[in-house]
């Protein structure tokens, strides 16, 4: 009964959190070119193409969402390219692309005439371009959102919808491995990671679903407990030297991994962080960095899990399906219904295995120029709603 009450309160808080202040009312108009900068260096928009990094895979998903109208059951886009709000008008692999408004789009023509997308722009340059009003829309790493805001950049931050978790690869088994995982999970200072590394853009993660989605995160502790971690580790003999892997192209993962090593050291746990080759995903259904680092032995690696849907049941199901091959989870239950209890028990089942140690929840952060109007944060799993934005008549500088 207490659980039900908590879930209801959590749902109410989520609804209230979504009620953002409305922008000044102005009449939208058509026309203009929306300038977009992204960090990924896409070489192809071929649906069968394989992305070489997480960032590339995310970007391809977002661009496909502009070109395709529908998605299949597995989350991949179906139909013909150009059936979406935009059509590809020009393409320079790895450098830039131009999308033109689809006059025949099912839901009506987008407001902007075209989108000019510059590929391969580093995060720092994207923030600078936003600051100098040289671009209208760009993704910003969450850890740089605070800095961008301080520099006067218009920033749009979504609800935390991307989980950064430490996933043990299942190479160790038995009681000892359970203690190792528990010791690591208890020694991590999640608050420090959120406050220092993410610059307070995010929240500590104790479960597989964010609080705004499930409302049950208070049931999964996130506090650091070094003393207990030390006690647990002292019972492990011989104590191993753990290797924590991270995506070599992901600076955030690297910082978090190094911090975990520091936390572990404080608890007496011997560990090192090690960069793993970049891994992409061929489709939205594949977990970021799902390769096990065949050439490099690692005990656990950091994994980003982006919610495919605001609905907890769908996200948890997708997460479980993505984590199973990484952690070697066998026959883990998936929620059979959307009831909070069912979702919670499935989530608890995964957490009890100790194979997945949630670290932080991170939002999606976008930088916008002043002339971008009617921008709405996309819901979890949705693409960029660039068809709905319009540009103020003010000419770009």
């Amino acid at each position: 009964m207490k659980l039900r009450l908590c879930l209801c309160l959590a749902t109410i808080s989520v609804v209230l959190a979504g009620a953002a202040p409305l922008p000044p009312a102005r009449r939208p108009h058509y026309g203009g070119t929306l300038r977009v900068e992204i960090g990924a260096t896409l070489q192809s928009l071929d649906p069968a193409g394989v992305a070489t990094s997480r960032e590339e895979a995310d970007a391809k998903t977002e661009l496909d969402a502009l070109l395709y109208d529908q998605r299949g059951e597995d989350g991949t886009f179906v139909g013909t390219a150009g059936s979406g709000p935009f059509r590809l008008s020009s393409w320079e692999a790895g450098k830039r692309a131009t999308f033109a408004a689809n006059q025949d789009y099912r839901e009506g023509r987008p407001f902007v005439d075209s989108i000019e997308i510059q590929l391969g722009r580093p995060a720092h340059d994207r923030v600078v371009d936003l600051e100098l009003n040289k671009t209208d829309f760009a993704t910003i790493p969450p850890e740089q959102a605070r800095q961008a805001t301080d520099r006067g950049v218009r920033v749009s931050v979504s609800q935390p919808n991307e989980l950064l978790a430490l996933v043990f690869l299942g190479s160790r088994s038995g009681k000892e491995s359970t203690r190792i995982r528990e010791a690591i999970a208890r020694c991590i200072d999640r608050a420090a990671i959120v406050n220092f590394i993410l610059q307070k853009e995010g929240e500590p993660a104790g479960g597989l679903l964010p609080h705004w989605s499930s409302g049950t995160t208070f049931l999964f502790p996130t506090e650091m407990d070094v003393r207990t971690a030390k006690e647990i580790w002292s019972q492990i003999s011989p104590s191993p030297n753990l290797v924590l892997g991270y995506d070599s192209t992901d600076t955030l993962e690297q910082s978090v991994a190094e911090r975990i090593v520091v936390n572990a050291k404080e608890a007496g746990i011997s560990s090192v962080s090690r960069a793993l080759p970049a891994s992409g995903k061929a489709s939205p259904g594949q977990v970021d960095g799902s390769t096990r680092g065949a050439a490099i032995r690692v005990d656990a690696r950091l994994v980003r899990l982006r919610m495919p849907s605001p609905l907890p049941r769908i996200s948890l199901t997708v997460f479980i399906n993505r984590l199973e091959p990484i952690a070697g989870i066998v026959d883990s239950p998936v929620p059979q219904s959307a009831s909070p209890e069912d979702v919670y028990y499935c989530e608890r089942s995964i957490m009890n295995s100790g194979l997945v140690v949630p670290i932080v929840w991170m939002p999606q952060v976008y930088g916008l120029s002043a002339r971008v109007r009617d921008w709405k944060q996309p819901a979890a799993g949705e693409g960029w709603p660039l068809a709905d934005v319009w540009l103020d008549s003010t000419d770009p500088q």
Partner: protein, 602 residues
């Protein structure tokens, strides 16, 4: 020679010792200079680090940070990434911003350490008076030793500490300017026990670092400067002398050991060079001494050897030998005496030959006069009888005339015979060689003399023949051999006026056929035996002295040898050796005389 070797050895040893001392002193100076340089560089780096850290502390952003952090509920997370950029801009390997409670706000070398305590920084007395200091600190990649400095920015009652430093490692060693054959190593005392990878030079970990373990262990137990020699191989030139200098931290704990290595290759190479030079000088000296000795000896002994060679030549019969006379010293005088002696010998020989020649002519004249006088006297008497008969007895003149002419013709015939003998000896023919059976010749000659052996009115002579069976034929002149054997038999018959036994024997001996004839006659004296083959020499009243001379000439023309053995009252034996195949007719007679068992070769 020994003196030469000793002197060279002494000089070499002296130079080697002096060289070693000089190099030791030079090495010591180099080491001292390098240690001083290291200390200066160390101090300079310390000052630099201190200046940079103080510069960071005094910079505007740091002051602003200090002001911001001094506020209540200050958000330190804003500065979590600041240290890395500041460290890069100030070229520091380590930089930490530390809050007033000792919490790390931002760390350049280990950015993930934010929030953790660095409590020693809050103990100002620990570092304030030191300036820069050596410190062991943890990094993401493990422990490291660094030259550190601390500066504080005080705002109100709160401090912001700036802790910066420079890694003590191969880059530091690379900055040292090292003399040739010297190197600097650094052992970082990061682990409880000696770890070879912690010993580095300017390029990285040192090869065979475990060889330094004794030095490091001594420094770890009793820090202090010490010197140690390491022989890398059996070659002495590979040795290095290391001078160690311990570097201590704030708590006087050993953090690093600087090792200044000095290669002994140059010293050893120079010593070897000197040694080889000495050996070379000694060898040259020895060779020079040998040459000098040889030259001196040759200069002294050569004339003596020449004299000895000359003496050998003279003893071999070459009396015309002369030795060169150089100088007027004793050897020169000896050579002059030798030459005079040989000249005297030659002169004496010439005189002797001349005298013998005169004596021979006299003997010939005497023999000729004797031979001719015997017929001439009857001739004179007969002619005088004819003259007397014609004047005193004309009636008997006719009878006297017949008798006288008969006597004259007989004596003239006798004169012709005498002249013919001399003519025959003068015209001795060259042998015409052909296969000859010596036994046949001996038998034929004996058969001719059988009548004379048993002639009436003289004592009988009994011939005994011992002729060898299967005697090979020889290449010889039958007529000449026949004549030679005749003469030998005649000679033996004359030696046995009272009769006796004449023994003849033929045998084969080593490619020769030997013929021996012996009698039981009166024998010969030594003098007679010596001159028996001399032409015109005879012991008989009626002989010409040419018989045995002719025999000797025939034997010599057949490349044979003849010798005589005789004993007074016993008899005489002649031995003739004739080759089965004479190489060529012998022009020069070779005679071997054996008298009284003593063989004399002429």
């Amino acid at each position: 020679m020994l003196a030469l070797l000793l002197s060279v050895g002494l000089v070499t040893a002296g130079v080697t010792v002096a060289t070693r001392r000089a190099f030791d002193e030079l090495n010591r100076q180099h080491t001292d200079a390098l240690v001083e340089q290291f200390q200066r560089e160390y101090d300079r780096r310390g000052h630099e680090v201190l200046n940079r850290v103080q510069g960071i502390a005094e910079a505007e952003p740091t002051v602003r940070m200090a002001i911001d952090l001094s506020r209540p509920n200050a958000d330190i997370s804003v500065y979590v990434n600041d240290a890395r950029g500041v460290a890069q801009s100030h070229q520091l390997d380590f930089l930490d911003f530390v809050g007033t409670d000792g919490s790390i706000i931002s760390s350049a070398e280990w950015s993930a350490r934010f929030g953790y305590k660095m409590e020693w920084v809050t103990q100002k007395e620990d570092w304030a008076t030191r300036g820069s200091f050596l410190m062991k600190l943890d990094t993401q990649d493990g422990p490291a030793v660094a030259l550190m400095a601390v500066a504080a920015v005080r705002v109100g009652d709160k401090d912001l500490y700036v802790v910066g430093g420079e890694r003590l490692g191969k880059e530091f060693l690379a900055s040292l300017v090292l003399p040739e054959n010297m190197r600097a190593l650094l052992y970082l005392n990061l682990d409880p026990a000696f770890q070879p990878p912690n010993l580095i030079d300017s390029t990285g970990p040192v090869v065979e670092a475990e060889r330094f373990e004794p030095i490091i262990e001594r420094e770890r137990t009793h820090p202090g400067s010490l010197t140690e020699k390491i022989n890398w191989t059996f070659d002495a030139a590979s040795a290095e002398i290391f001078h160690s200098i311990p570097k201590l931290g704030r708590q006087n704990e050993l953090l690093a050991v600087l090792l200044i290595g000095n290669s002994q290759r140059t010293v050893v190479t120079l010593q070897r060079h000197i040694l080889w030079l000495a050996i070379g000088v000694a060898a040259i000296g020895i060779l020079f001494g040998l040459f000098l000795s040889w030259w001196a000896a040759a200069r002294v002994t050569l004339p003596v050897r020449r004299l000895a060679a000359g003496a050998r030549e003279v003893s071999d019969g070459n009396w015309n030998t002369r030795v060169a006379v150089r100088g007027n010293d004793e050897i020169g005088q000896l050579a002059q005496s030798f030459n005079r002696m040989t000249q005297e010998l030659v002169d004496q020989r010439e005189r002797l030959i001349q005298a013998e020649r005169v004596a021979a002519w006299r003997e010939v004249a005497r023999r000729l006069a004797h031979e001719l006088k015997n017929p001439l006297f009857p001739l004179q008497t007969t002619v005088e009888n004819l003259q007397r008969a014609s004047t005193q007895n004309p009636d008997q003149f006719e009878e006297v005339f017949r008798e006288s002419t008969g006597i004259l013709l007989a004596e003239i015939e006798n004169l012709k015979t005498i002249v013919g003998r001399f003519s025959d000896f003068a015209k001795m023919p060259q042998p015409e060689l052909g296969p000859v059976d010596l036994n046949d010749i001996v038998r034929n000659v004996v058969k001719l003399f059988e009548a004379q052996f048993s002639a009436v009115g003289r004592p009988p002579i009994t011939p005994e023949l011992h002729l060898g069976e299967n005697l090979p034929t020889i290449q010889a002149d039958t007529t000449l051999l026949h004549r030679a054997i005749e003469n030998l038999i005649l000679n033996a018959m004359d030696a046995m006026p009272a009769g006796g036994i004449l023994m003849m024997r033929t045998t084969q001996n080593d490619g020769n056929v030997d013929f021996e004839i012996s009698d039981t006659g009166v024998g010969l004296t030594r003098e007679e035996a010596d001159r028996i083959f001399t032409p015109y020499y005879t012991t008989k009243q009626h002989g010409t002295g040419l018989g045995l001379a002719i025999v000797q000439a025939i034997v010599a023309d057949h490349s044979g040898r003849i010798s005589v053995e005789s004993e007074m009252g016993v008899g005489t034996a002649f031995h003739v050796e004739l080759p089965i195949k004479p190489p060529h007719p012998q022009a020069t007679p070779v005679v071997v005389e054996e008298v009284h068992e003593k063989k004399v070769e002429v």
